[in-house]
Symmetry: none
Subunit: 420 residues, 2 copies
């Protein structure tokens, strides 16, 4: 069992009224079993469409997982489509009918007649118990391909996959695993980074190396398949070591670790504190830092100094300096960082001033120009960034937020803590 299709059924999914999160969840779980999801397919609640996609899936893959369309209403057609593809009639499954009556009975209600359809399964199929809701799942063979149909409600689906499907798949795949890891980087564009590791990316499928990018953060994915976890993990670790040797300090974290998480953990370990003074990012850096539980240990506070008067009144930026260099300038970024650090008594401070657009740019100071000041216990430095005069406002703000957090991260690299 090497490949799987994941089929999602529901008009609200096909029409884009709901984002499908079940497929990503199932894909993730299949990988842990060493099964590669080669396609996700979504169709509306239309029986011919469901029949067509099930036939394609059974032909193309070693395993088919289906979610949705097992409810009690007229537009729930998965069981009918499975029966049609398998060429068998639907039959009442007595234990499932008893479960339905018990489910409603436990809630002090009679089973609505419409729910009886949920006890119908194709002849020769197995019903999978639903620990959470009403609809049993269905395990069936479509030709030679095993197929599991699960409820679309995420919590019911999770419980049924974990309780009934996963153990069977684990037995069938006996040990084989596909492990995944992502190295998160900041500092190089996707193509520049790709050039550094082109040979590793081209080396093939196992381990497989690929990249994804967003707002300046480039993730380097590693997938490694093996006959057992130890073998796969060793391949993963070797590929990670090779990538880290090539990429060096641009690697800031692994898997779900964001820049804010990494920076916060480092501050906590060093016993240091930070504050923020933001103009064009308008509070996004503070919001990112405080998104982390426990951030009050190192984040003291911040100032969103949008108007010039806020910069002078709260951050003590000299008005003369703004008049002379403009609010978007290196000297003002420096004064903002120094001002907020003094005001809130922190070891580190980040300050951002820039032009997020779409208006306000000039030939001299275009949209996308951002100065980021970093105050450390030793010094205050300012870096100038140009995020593109045609970049959208939120892209400029996000990239500036990442660039600022990354400056703080690099400033703490190699420092020994905790302070005395």
């Amino acid at each position: 069992m090497r490949t799987a299709w994941i089929v999602s059924i529901g008009t609200e999914l096909a029409l884009g009224q709901t984002v499908d999160t079940n497929s990503a969840w199932l894909a993730h779980r299949l990988r842990a079993l060493g099964i590669r999801p080669t396609r996700h397919a979504t169709v509306a609640d239309e029986e011919p469409d469901i029949v067509a996609v099930l036939r394609q899936a059974a032909d193309a893959a070693d395993l088919v997982l289906v979610t949705g369309g097992l409810g009690p209403t007229a537009d729930d057609l998965t069981r009918h489509a499975l029966a049609a593809v398998a060429g068998v009639p639907l039959e009442e499954h007595a234990p499932s009918l008893a479960h339905l009556h018990a489910f409603f009975g436990a809630r002090g209600r009679m089973m609505p007649p419409a729910n009886a359809v949920q006890a119908l399964i194709p002849r020769g199929a197995r019903a999978l118990p639903n620990a959470v809701g009403t609809a049993p799942g269905i395990a069936i063979r479509l030709g030679r391909t095993p197929c599991y149909a699960l409820p679309g409600v995420p919590l019911e689906m999770y419980a049924m996959f974990t309780g009934s499907v996963e153990p069977e798949l684990r037995a069938a795949t006996a040990g084989a695993v596909l492990l995944c890891r992502k190295l998160n980087t900041f500092g190089l564009g996707e193509s520049e980074l790709g050039a550094l590791i082109a040979d590793l990316m081209a080396r093939g499928r196992n381990p497989e190396v690929g990249t994804t990018a967003g707002y300046g953060v480039v993730g380097v994915r590693i997938n490694a398949a093996g006959p057992d976890e130890t073998t796969a993990r060793r391949m993963l670790d070797q590929a990670e070591a090779e990538l880290r040797a090539r990429l060096g300090e641009i690697v800031f974290g692994v898997d779900d670790e964001t820049l804010a998480v990494v920076v916060g953990r480092r501050l906590a370990a060093l016993g240091r504190t930070v504050s923020t003074a933001e103009s064009c990012t308008g509070g996004m850096i503070a919001a990112a830092l405080t998104d982390i539980p426990g951030s009050s240990a190192y984040f003291r506070g911040g100032v969103v100094a949008y108007a010039n008067e806020a910069k002078t009144a709260v951050l003590a930026v000299p008005a003369e300096r703004i008049a002379r260099h403009g609010a978007v300038s290196a000297p003002v970024a420096e004064a903002m960082a120094a001002g907020v650090a003094a005001r809130l008594g922190t070891d580190y401070a980040l300050a951002v001033t820039g032009i997020a657009g779409p208006t306000g740019g000039t030939a001299d100071k275009p949209v996308g120009l951002v100065f980021i000041g970093l105050r450390t216990p030793r010094e205050t430095t300012v870096r100038e960034f140009r995020f593109g005069h045609d970049a959208p406002r939120d892209v400029i703000r996000q990239r500036a937020t990442h660039a600022a957090l990354n400056m703080l991260r690099l400033a703490m690299t190699g420092i020994e803590g905790p302070r005395d």
Copy 2:
């Protein structure tokens, strides 16, 4: 042109490392053009898989939309697969190459050699300009079926679809339309709101009324299909009028209008200013307000007062008041609002102090307890909210952000402006 397939390309999608939101977005936009998305399909960055799904899509649908796989690295294979399906070679597209050089030039960099591949398009295809990033899109016929390939980065995809693809599809579908509108509400839960409009939701498919909810904001969707735009729009307007009569002032906006957009527009119209003092929301209210272009007209600045010392030093909250009532209390919220309004000289001020969790709660002051202070030119009021002791940190922070903006919105309702 009646049906479409939406194809997403990316190993990170197929393996479940990233949830695909592009397909739902595109499905939504296609419906507005009267085109029914009959299938979404996701495949990994494997050329044979991409070729296979493109062939199936071109056979099955009247239109194929593709996202992803247009990047500069070796695992970006969409352009190669399109050329293979169309049976043509890839050729360099000079204007796209010039755009790439200009894109990097505007950022003060040389184009990395790897990016040159992004200027390759299949012979006979058209390049679609990318206003936001590097990769041009591709418009091509696969057999008789029109196909558009767009970048996978959401912001680039949105811009390209809206700027290049939608106008062509609108011309091609000329006439029949499916119009959609969403009324955004704040103040009632989804089921309470649903009970007020149950008869309208049950009335059938045209117009179709449904609800979606997130972080306290409940959207009421209306879909209306008609043979022409005038007919469909009339149905939409009638349904909207009926919904507004039922829902009253909880309706704050339409379609993409957020609370921050609505509040900002109102402040600008009144010629008033606002500032923020945030503890548990950590800058999220300031970030939401400054996400709007032109917000400098009414947003003066804010203070993220995370540590108690920040509340006393920057916002002049009396230390005695914190000691007596605790930092999370109505008197402190009131003092924070008054303090930031005085400090920054604004007409309005919002202040938030609360317990976002997951730790820090007590029996008396549980996780989810939030006090929101609102300073207006007339008075300062404080409201107490309980967002649930078991709610996740980001849910509590988002709901508090929405609740604060909504308090400001309601305070400005019925006020005549501009001030003298």
